[in-house]
Amino acid sequence: MAQQRARVDAVIVGLGWAGSLMAEELTRAGLTVVALERGAWRDTTTDFPPAVDTDELRWSTRRGMLQPQAVETLTFRNRPDQGALPLRDWNCFQFGWNVGGAGTHWNGMTWRFKPYDFQPHTLTRRRYGDKKLADGLQVQDWGVSYDDLEPFYDRFERLAGTSGKAGNIQGQAQPGGNPFEGPRQRDYPLPPLQRTRACDLFDAGAAKLGLHSFPVPAGNTSGAYVNPLGVHMAPCTYCGYCEFFGCGNWSKSSPQACILPALKRRPNFSVLTQSEVLKVNLAADKKTATGVTFIDAAGRLWEQPADIVVISAYQMDNVRLMLLSGIGKPYDRASGTGVVGRNYAYQTISGASVFFEDEHLNPFIGAGALAQAVDDYNSDNFDHTHHDFIGGANMLIHSTNGRPIGMGGAVPPGTPRWGSDWKKAYRDSYQNSNSVYCQGTSYGHRDVYLDLDPTYTDRHGMPLLRVTFDWNENDARMAHFIADRAVEMGHAMGAKVVSRFEPTAKAFSPMDQLSSHTTGGAVMGADPTTSALNPYLQSWDVHNVFVAGASCFANNGGCNPTGTVAATTLWAAHAIKEQYLKNPGPLVKA
């Protein structure tokens, strides 16, 4: 029998980016909020100060901050007719773990999706007609527009202390920024980070090709900063121990650095750590949730009653918790019906490795989002009339992760992987190599989905989430086109060796660790037959359950997801505060 806790206004499942932002909004509105986090408390001074942080083996190679597979993993198969097997060791599906979630050890690239990305169905048909979409592709609008989300993107950039350069302020082009971004109300709160030699080389290459280069918006502070919650951030020191590491400097945008110091002081907020939610409990009519059941560190079961349940346990676990709790109809591939698990997407990766001669790139100097990019081939920024695909990719060069265990494979193609020849090649290429990395769009497909595994379970005996994924035809064609552009860029940058990279040419494997960006599975939309959530992230079926995270993306954009995770979360929080609290019930009629 589960022990009962006192009722609260809202319970938040998972205290990463989405959970922290939602908790900040709801507590500021006066609600009593309890967050349940399956990992432990983690903070800068106590857990990853500089005297602990600068350790490649522990944090990067052994992934010391990530959620171990022993706690929960996924099962994987490429096609619906295969049996799925558990991913037993580290792979591309990198789950956050502990307070802060993946927001503690992410890189900090803080993008906005393009206006097109929210309305790909409408805008594709308008520009190219009905026949543009490949068979099986499930392209659909989000039920929300870029303009709706703009104020919330802006709010997140202010909270996070984002460093960047605007390209479009209220329709006015801004030199040096990204000319393809949607109109913004104002510039970033901090100017761009300092540059590296790699950035200079990329800029020169872009200029030669007539492309528009700009600094990637960075959740690494280019200077001291105080955010709207009064929280102080210190300047990034370009330490380069960023991705997979906590930041010892209060310089990386993270729940710990930006939100929790203020949240922790509010009397109507508390977090229970090492408390894992097993399911959301529903009332007899299945139209409302009564709260959640969780298990604590000692293995005791508890019930936390609440008027509002916010599921913010990361994209994958959001979908899993909905399936385990019976919220929304599961996607059934055979009939093409059902919505939970539908429109899962990954990030379509391609690019080129580049090797220079006699450079001193000093790759150890960097930051998680210290990068220079072009968006000329992203989204619908170029004419697709004569291409057999929709979508595109951002193309960038990245100054980060220049550490010696991880870079050991970064030698020109054809070099032995061991022995004295490898040593010589590695010594030279350490200062001379980088890559043109392209993060592409990805669209939902009939044969790509998430459901519960019939065989394998987690440590509590609950079914694991099963991923059925392979590159779809549209996305693979796009990546082929983009890899060609990356090769052009490599040559334009003056690289001596350019090595084309097109992982979409073969079956996808999570072991390739191409990107950690997974989206969809509980998508938002205006049509309850193709979306699990309405445009306010509210479950169509259980009106007091809101689901925040990249699970709500109807498709993945050609860049990192978290800016859009934050904007959609804050947009939903606004709707809860302004509409739902006054009149609890469905915010949109099904």
Binding site: D53, D200, R265, W418, K424
Partner: protein, 238 residues
């Protein structure tokens, strides 16, 4: 204070119980007092000193011979065993890594497609135990000698065949075992010296990596210049 004494004083604070207990499933809210000081679990965990902790002497000899072909001594730098890579591996195999503490270990174990990733029932420590024995047994049968007693050319030829998937080591997947050893020797050669390898920061000096530095604001403006920053270790045990 140098890095080492800072670290010691922080460790002292933690030992006095000033660190918040992360392990209790705490309720953290306005009234929770989070004291300064390090969470003891977060402190750097240097390798134990002393004799072998997991490998037998014979296993250490075999794996040392493999490692010295993967990262040989030459005019650029010392080889893997001189850099401490066997000690490094030994400590790793005796710890969480060796016992696959983070991995998903529930069955059924099924081979699957290459895309589905490794499905080993054995832990890394068990894979070394079985793999090194299989490697020596194979050499004894084919050449009448242990791996360590082959000539460097013979060793290279065998390793090349393992890498190419052309050797049958019975129950051991030779190609996967080769990949495991290659990954671990690189780790030993380039990880912080506190883990037992990378002696005198030989690996870091080879490529010019400055180690556990945390602030490059003074040099980021020197774009494209040779910097020659001497490396530093997290615990100065290089």
């Amino acid at each position: 204070m140098d890095r080492r004494s800072v670290f010691k004083s922080l460790a002292g604070l933690a030992a006095l119980g000033a660190a918040p207990s992360a392990a209790t499933g705490a309720v953290i809210g306005k009234h929770t007092i989070l004291d300064p000081g390090l969470n003891p679990e977060s402190l750097p965990q240097p390798a134990l000193t002393g004799g072998l902790a997991f490998l037998t002497v014979a296993e250490a000899r075999t794996v040392g011979a493999v490692f010295d072909r993967l990262i040989p001594a030459d005019e650029l730098s010392v080889g893997a065993t001189q850099a401490g890579c066997v000690e490094f591996l030994d400590r790793q195999l005796a710890g969480d890594y060796g016992r696959a503490a983070t991995q998903y270990r529930q069955g059924p174990f099924v081979k699957g497609t290459p895309q589905q990733g490794p499905q080993f029932q054995q832990t890394p420590a068990e894979r070394y135990r079985a793999g090194l024995a299989a490697l020596d047994a194979y050499c004894a049968q084919a050449q009448g000698k242990a791996f360590a007693d082959l000539t460097p050319d013979q060793q290279d030829a065998l390793l090349t065949d393992m890498e190419g998937g052309k050797v049958d080591l019975g129950g051991t997947d030779a190609k996967a075992f080769f990949e495991l050893m290659l990954q671990n020797v690189r780790e030993g050669y380039f990880a912080d010296p506190m883990y037992g390898g990378n002696k005198d920061m030989a690996g870091w000096k080879l490529v010019g990596f400055p180690g556990a530095r945390y602030d490059y604001r003074d040099v980021i403006g020197k774009r494209g210049q040779k910097l020659d920053l001497p490396p530093v270790s997290l615990l100065d045990r290089g």
